[in-house]
Symmetry: C2
Subunit: 277 residues, 2 copies
């Protein structure tokens, strides 16, 4: 692992790091904010998965999480959204290929060798992080935005032993039921929709996965709400399954970091409460 940069910020250290990933076969970049802490102390960690077109940089620059993380003593980790590099296949559209890994392990060509963001987030990156940062891996939470909200929900639902807390901003709640999801999962996983269910938050809940609690914030002026995000499907799935979900709709707010940053401190505090020692 190489350090790209570190900057002191909000009583902690904001770093950016890169490493050669065995999972994707490419270099991968991610950011980590570590609040000041006692020597030897291990801190809970909040993972943040980003949305379409983003790298680690978007939330690192615009997410406004550092003040809240420093206050709560929570480490914040932001991975990239796909493998990168000249030899990585891509698609001309913004919603498939680079910047659009959808947190799946692709099975279709030419994607399957490198587009393995599920394994990267579930296995390789946590192992690397545990080795290099003062994290308490028994206290992990996960959140994300849009495609990354989908990532947080599905990874959280599939790994209840690893994540004590799961939340999301404007998540894609059911790739089975939206154009972004249909396009990406057809491309990465093939047309058999049975293979998609482990990458669909609503289907995972329908198939028996559970969360002890859930916090979701969604802007009502989000121009992707009705066609792509379909928050209502998640509301129904949680109700049916008895998952105690707080799903807040915010009049006037859109899909941007102006929205995310407005509610970031709430999410950090919500996770911190659940990640207490």
């Amino acid at each position: 692992m190489e350090q790209v940069s570190t900057n002191r910020s909000h009583g902690g250290t904001q770093g950016v790091y890169t490493h050669q990933s065995a999972t994707t076969g490419t270099p991968m970049t991610f950011s980590v904010f570590v609040p000041d802490h006692e020597p030897g102390q291990r801190l809970p960690v909040l993972w943040y998965l980003s949305g379409l077109t983003c790298t680690h940089a978007n939330v690192t620059e615009k997410g406004e999480y550092r003040a809240a993380c420093a206050r709560a003593g929570v480490i914040f980790i932001a991975p990239d959204t796909s493998p990168r590099g000249d030899d990585v296949p891509d698609d001309a559209a913004y919603d498939f290929g680079k910047g659009a890994g959808f947190y799946v392990d692709a099975t279709q060509e030419p994607w399957s060798a490198q587009f393995r963001m599920r394994s990267y987030i579930e296995q390789e990156l946590p192992a690397l992080v545990a080795q290099h940062f003062p994290v308490d891996m028994d206290r992990q939470g996960i959140t994300g935005h849009s495609m990354g909200g989908h990532g947080a929900l599905t990874i959280g639902l599939r790994n209840p032993d690893r994540f004590r807390s799961v939340s999301a901003f404007s998540p894609i709640v059911s790739p089975l039921n939206c154009p972004w999801g249909n396009k990406a999962l057809t491309g990465y996983l093939g047309p058999d929709k049975a293979a998609w269910r482990e990458y669909d938050a609503c289907a995972l809940i329908e198939d028996g996965a559970r969360l002890p609690a859930l916090l979701v914030d969604q802007g009502e002026a989000d121009n992707f709400l009705h066609e792509q995000l379909k928050t209502g499907l998640l509301v129904m799935a949680c109700r049916k399954a008895g998952i105690p979900a707080t799903i807040r709709m915010h009049p006037g707010y859109d899909h941007s970091y102006y929205f995310i940053s407005s509610f970031m401190a709430d999410h950090v505090a919500w996770h911190a409460e659940r990640l207490k020692a």
Copy 2:
């Protein structure tokens, strides 16, 4: 004035606007954050002047001021740092020409027609803002970063009737005594250093200008501190003049928005206290 964009954020509206400036003869873009307020209510306003290479966008995206401004009920305005456009003269370096207006009215060719950021900030933009936003122009504060810290200090010192509160992040405190200042003021104002004094915070104080109070934050790991910023000169000037200045040095912090954002809420609260009705 045209609205470029508005986004709901932190219980307020973050807008970006553009207008044809009579002062610079070019279109000028600026951002305004307006917290929610009662109909007819007029709010105090905090001006933020940006540093070299920046536009309105840097602080708007990375400054983390909205939560604090919404809490305090303060409007936040971020202008650009120079005229822009294909017919605006420029210099190959980052520290002169476009993005480097230094908040002066240039007297030298080819700059004098358009590089008039002093008049733009002191006269044209306030008049435009007063016309279009719910501002209480009797309650104005000003701050800024680096070159914009220089702008905030000099404009604040020259206009004590307009600004009740002045602060700065990592300001250039004396263009007379640093390479950035020497290059820019020679280029914009000519070699006669007598003409520079009204654009030099330390010289203005030496020549009799006063502030009722001053807040400055400066990172000790700022790589421009010793050659360009020279905070110590401002400390001495304030001490000699009896200006009650709080000038805080922060170990480990650098010149970036990771530093600015760490202390932004402090500055907003400090101004809000002084801008109370």
